[in-house]
Symmetry: C2
Subunit: 362 residues, 2 copies
């Protein structure tokens, strides 16, 4: 019997291809019995068919199983009751219902991938992690803002002490664990905000400061969100871990991703105290769905994050080793250059990438 | 007697050097009688000395004169009554008091300047304008958010119909005037928002759509703020004019700037119906102040924007020609490569750059 149950939602567009690819790599990395994958319906297409984006049984399984592996959800033109495209998006619903407060987005330039930044083309130097607060900030208002008499619209940016403390602690622990990786032996947490303009951001910064006193081994650094974009282009090699409010985190995560090759190589883990969801940083890309043309790399790297998280939580070194073997295999394939996915300028199909990565597992 | 009075605030740090440099270039470009520069006190140092950041007389002059030329204001550690570093910043005060609702940030890669983006190093292809809404959005709350019992902080994002209509119309007019420059003959306005998540952004987008029906010659395009960062790195050559809410505009303006060489070459104009303030996009950089090491390029290019605005407003072709001569001179100096400011990797001093640009005026 499998030790861990993985709630697996394929979702829309390229979701099924890339999620199946990850399942295959996970089975090859750990043996077919380590994980049980429970396939669950959900997403925009399911909503069109059934009127439900996140069926009750899917939600229950996500809540009760050990982790969630997700392909991608959402289809252009499918809007929900609240009139927005994502207000009731599967992924957002799970994020909030399961209180997945830390959205972890590693930004790492892999060998074999070319950065669009001229000074960092050769790889290696870009290696940091963005921790986006994932449950409040501007997203507290998602779909719930007001429009008064068609004249004035308003949304609220909400920063709570509890919400900030827990994400700051999460980020500081990530920094502590990296132990000064990659470069200079200094663990550093950069707080990205606009504390010079808004009180809620000054509050956010102040709480990060407070929590950081428990982490004397982690240096604290600050960047305003506007200046942050400059730094991530000019000196990405300076950064170790960055923590940001939800909307700022959303924005800088995508900027980070493009500097290391884009969404197609960017994993994401949305982590709470008791639940976590893993999926590539990209969307469902329905325009290329079903053609075996998507890159499974981001989802595969996300599934390695899943093993990190499960392994640490259950003190299971088998999983942690599996995560490292998956990352090594992805690195080996990309740096060998024979199989390169289309979004990185190559021509390898999703299935070819998957097989190459499975072969590279040692 | 000079035809136009320019309220000139040198401000802090490198402000005086770069503003004096621009005054010199303006005098050389137009003849010494065209503009009268009224030097006015204000800024963080003035606040420390006198308790006033924006003296009443300075404000009155800014309000009553034809345009405002500003060096830079603000000093680290100087905080105002509201406890923030910029809540009462000279520049923010003028922005709000004079209702300078359109913050225009041209993003153009000049010959002789190297982009950090590998695919755009050779110049020319990046040439767009960001129009940032400058009086509402998240900045409606500047310094005025609330912190409840030390537990919950909140700020409001406010988008009004009137505020959005006027900035959308401004941006559409900019696009119309560019007439498809630089590339494909298509005038395009990209609305940057997060309409998929927040009602206020959906409202913003809807009003931009409405106003755009008066501009059938301008194509409408949309980008979510997170994806926008990816586009500005991957395909900056696609963009013509971008309009964004205040905070998003702040963030993407800096990202745009770094792709074309940074704040030191990035001009800015903050424009209302009856007043306008021009200054470089950079800050006061007190660490390099008084050493003749700052680049005057951003301020000089901002003063060309000032001439554009004044010239159009007063139907004065002399000013418009002056603006073009200044831009041509800056381009000539940078592309010749003999004088390159320090922030672009050269060693030319502020005074040397200024003289070289004056000599290059034809
Ligand atoms: C699709 C959208 C709801 C989502 C977000 O804004 O959080 C996406 O951009 C992300 O980063 O997961
Ligand atoms: C200094 C600060 C108040 C300002 C802003 O946030 O608007 C700056 O970033 C700008 O872009 O002018």
């Amino acid at each position: 019997m499998a030790k861990y149950n993985i709630a697996t939602i394929y979702g829309d567009g390229i979701g099924p291809e890339v999620a199946r690819s990850s399942v295959r790599v996970l089975k090859n990395a750990l043996g077919s019995d380590a994980l049980h994958f429970e396939e669950l319906p959900g997403g925009a297409e399911h909503y069109v068919d059934s009127g439900e984006v996140l069926p009750e049984d899917t939600f229950t399984a996500c809540r009760d199983m050990d982790a969630i592996l997700h392909g991608a959800a959402g289809l252009p033109g499918v809007t929900y009751e609240d009139g927005t495209e994502v207000g009731n998006d599967l992924h957002l619903l799970l994020r909030f219902k399961l209180d997945l407060y830390a959205n972890m987005r590693p930004v790492k330039l892999l060998k074999g991938v070319t950065s669009p930044l001229a000074a960092f083309r050769d790889g290696g130097a870009i290696d940091y992690i963005i921790v986006r607060e994932n449950t409040e900030g501007l997203y507290a208002s998602r779909g719930a803002g007001v429009v008064l008499r068609g004249e004035i619209a308003s949304d609220s940016l909400i920063v709570t002490r509890k919400g900030t403390e827990r994400v700051a602690r999460f980020a500081l622990n990530v920094a502590r664990k990296r132990n000064g990786a990659p470069r200079d032996g200094v663990s550093r947490l950069t707080v990205c905000d606009k504390a010079n303009i808004l009180r809620s951001f000054a509050f956010f910064r102040g709480i990060c400061d407070e929590v950081s006193t428990d982490f004397p081994d982690v240096e604290i650094d600050y960047a305003y969100a506007d200046a942050m974009t400059v730094h991530l282009v000019k000196k990405p090699d300076f950064y170790d871990v960055i923590v940001a409010e939800n909307m700022f985190g959303d924005i800088i995560s995508d900027l980070g991703a493009v500097t290391v090759g884009g969404m197609g190589v960017s994993p994401s883990g949305e982590i709470g105290d008791n639940h976590a969801l893993f999926q590539g940083a990209h969307g469902s890309a329905p325009d290329i769905a079903g053609q075996d043309g998507a890159s499974p790399v981001a989802t595969i790297l996300s599934s390695a994050l899943m093993l990190d998280w499960l392994g640490e939580r259950h003190d299971d070194t088998n999983l942690v080793e599996g995560a490292n073997r998956i990352r090594n295999a992805v690195n080996a394939v990309l740096s060998a250059g024979e199989f390169i996915p289309r979004d990185l300028g190559g021509s390898a199909r999703c299935s070819e990438m998957t097989e190459a990565i499975c072969r590279a597992l040692d």
